[in-house]
Symmetry: C2
Subunit: 455 residues, 2 copies
């Protein structure tokens, strides 16, 4: 370890209590986006925290909840944009928390609070890393740092893409550190290079204007059966989505992606036990299971038709609907897929089926050989002492796309402070203080390294 | 018309007010089987009414609600069993009734009350017919009449089959007049010779012990999709049910059945308008639509899986279930079909799917050339002045099978007092007084004729 890095690490250790205090302060402030609880108060507090750490900060209006913007100039011409969010999931069910969700509690080296890992701890860790760098760098930052801290991540970031489009100059950067990431069960730094996109829709089938008696099932068209035929037509039993042109823009994983996939553990036994699963989809296992993240999916979220209470009711349902989400891979686009879905339904005799469009996000993915990605991998290995575990493409969806593309296809990498039992979104959400320290050191190494000043 | 028949008709006219008063009395007594409201009181009242009309009557225990049994001996050795029920459907929604459901109201030649057509009016009409016959027959009945008046028809007659099996000697008869029937829109007497059977089941699919995040849709097995595959495997898009051996015992309609079907109107335009239907099942029309009642059906009553509230939820459901009813035709049996369904699911890889069995009834059908059937057709033409409209096989299901088979495959025919706007099960249930009179005359002709004394 270089003297500089040792000094940075020492600074983090010496000032740890101060950062934990700030994290406690931030977690005490509820900020539940789903019900607009404490949102404005929390945005103001985050802006205040940024200012305390030497940033210019502004609470900016968006179409939805405000975005906190932070800016601090650095020595090099390079800029890193830190994406975070100040909103949290609802804390319910409250009775499953050992201590109240908005009264942070330190026990056995862990800090418990709603939002402590997702994502307030990461905001404080980044500020701590920047303080530590300044302490060894004559009070200056080696590169320019911007923060975009949104307030609706937990409700699907409906307006952040518009916010970015409206402020591309303000947010301009060369690379971005995303939220998430942390340490794997094996102690390896967990990094994520991108996520699948998503398109949510609901399809509405109507065969009659009113339900009929099931004694007439040979006469009256059943909306439930028609929905089954529609679903059959959407995907075959080999998970192949039958929408015309659906796979046109699917980019297969690169050789480097495949190498990184090969190194990833699948934790199959753990997942089988946790979810009580006999067989994964299509009996996939090992490499096939990992590689499948590069395939788009068509998922049934729920089906609604007919009688659903106790016992039976001899009825032919007139209406049926299904909620679906399509997970999209590079380079599929939600608008493209929505148009192809509509055209396909028209083509195969379901022109009468109405489609409601819900949320959507584009896929987005950094390339593993990008220098910024390589830097985060290298510094991760340095700090954690073990090779990084790189998720080339996460199965879920985040608004990475809203930043990466509009800001000039910049590389975006998730690096954070969580661990496998952090319980994000769940009762007893927590971080291990040791992970907070290691994660903070990693962020400092990435920023220091990206400046290009100390190579 | 014979003098005897003219006298019978005159008696009915002369005493009509008395019968309407009795019907009002009976309809004032609520008897809602679904919530056991007024059941015992109504059974006692029905027994009392039978006694007032010269019957021995007994309120008999069953596994469920009591059955009112009535007996009056006749001159000939022949016996007719009248099946009726004293229970009614719940009257809700109350606000859609012009006058309260249990306060019978006579307006414009119609009597409005819950149960007035289904089935209390038919009880009184039969008693009126028997009085009329006695008035011209020296106070005697020409053949023996038995009544079996159950109290759970509106909840699927769950215990009546057991009651019949336990009392075959008591109920022994040569023929039976069933409830239902009435006058067609064209003024023809509507008769029904039988009904399809039914088997209700619910199938439960479980792929995991808990729901998963839809970002893992390439990994976690979706119970909704598995249910779709199961339904695909049950029935193809041509309505062919794929259960092995399902059609083994299907008896095709006879030449006489086909003749009667050919004479039946389909009321296609009316049904299209009433239900807002573009196309009937498989585009059936005319004879194909009518003939299809001799095919069994597999009907989706309802599907339950995953998220069903507003918007979307990125979830993979762990559980899914479907409620189905199979309508069965002669000579299929519910036990047989249930066993074949289980075996088929095991055979095609769905051994893990659990099946709950709900209600079931066997199909049952009288033959059109049976002398009792011919008698009801002939007397119907005589009374209504138009040819009978004979439903050879009704699409729905009734407990006819519970009587017909155990009592020695006796013929059972529905003949009644309803019309197309009687609104059974609905608000403003009503009968036309003129139909009550005509229906009563028809019942009298059937009983008189069946005695064999006046040929």
């Amino acid at each position: 370890m270089t003297t500089r890095n040792a000094q940075i690490d020492q600074y983090i250790e010496d000032n740890l209590d101060r950062y934990i205090d700030e994290l406690v302060e931030l977690c005490r402030q509820p900020s539940i986006s789903a019900r607009h609880e404490g949102i404005n108060e929390c945005a103001a507090l985050v802006a205040d925290l940024l200012r305390r750490h030497g940033f210019e900060a502004e609470v900016m209006a968006s179409e939805g909840h405000p975005v906190v913007y932070g800016y601090a100039e650095g020595e090099s011409p390079r800029t890193i944009l830190c994406y975070n969010h100040y909103d949290v999931q609802p804390p319910e069910p409250l009775e499953l928390w050992t201590t109240p969700p908005f009264e942070p509690s330190l026990r056995d080296g862990k800090l418990y609070a709603r939002g402590v890992v997702d994502d307030k701890g990461e905001i404080i860790a980044r500020l701590a890393a920047l303080d530590a760098i300044r302490s060894v760098n004559g009070g200056k930052l080696p590169c320019t740092i911007k923060f975009a801290i949104e307030g609706e991540e937990e409700v699907g970031s409906p307006y952040v893409a518009g916010f970015v489009r409206d402020h591309t100059d303000l947010l301009a950067a060369d690379a971005s550190i995303w939220e998430g990431g942390g340490v794997s069960p094996e102690g390896r730094p967990g990094l994520a290079l991108g996520y699948r996109g998503v398109l949510g829709v609901e399809l509405f089938v109507e065969t009659m204007t009113r339900d009929a008696h099931s004694g007439g099932a040979h006469v009256f068209p059943n909306a439930g059966w028609r929905l089954v035929r529609l679903l059959e037509a959407l995907k075959d039993e080999n998970e192949h989505i039958k929408i015309t042109g659906f796979y046109d823009n699917v980019r297969p994983p690169s050789a480097l992606d495949m190498e990184l996939l090969a190194e990833q553990p699948t934790h199959e036994e753990m997942l089988r036990d946790l979810f009580g699963i006999k067989e994964f989809v299509l009996g996939r296992t090992g490499m096939a299971l990992k590689e499948a993240v590069f395939q788009p999916t068509c998922n049934i979220q729920g089906i609604t038709t007919g009688y659903q209470q106790a016992g039976m009711k001899t009825v032919i349902p007139a209406k049926a609907s299904v909620k679906l989400d399509f997970r999209l891979v590079p380079d599929q686009e939600p608008d493209e897929i929505f148009a192809k879905l509509r055209a396909y339904l028209d083509e195969i005799g379901f022109a009468d089926v109405e489609i409601a469009r819900y949320g959507s996000m584009s896929p987005s993915k950094a390339e593993p050989d990008d220098p910024f990605v390589q830097l985060t991998i290298r510094t991760g290995e340095d700090v954690y002492g073990l090779p990084a575990q790189v998720t080339t493409l996460g199965g879920g969806s985040t608004p990475v796309y809203a930043f990466a593309g509009p800001l000039g296809n910049i590389p975006v990498v998730s690096a954070g402070i969580g661990y496998w039992d952090s319980r994000g979104h769940a009762p007893d959400e927590n971080i291990r203080i040791e992970d907070f320290v290691t994660g903070t050191r990693h962020i400092a190494r990435i920023i220091d390294g990206f400046s290009g000043l100390f190579e």
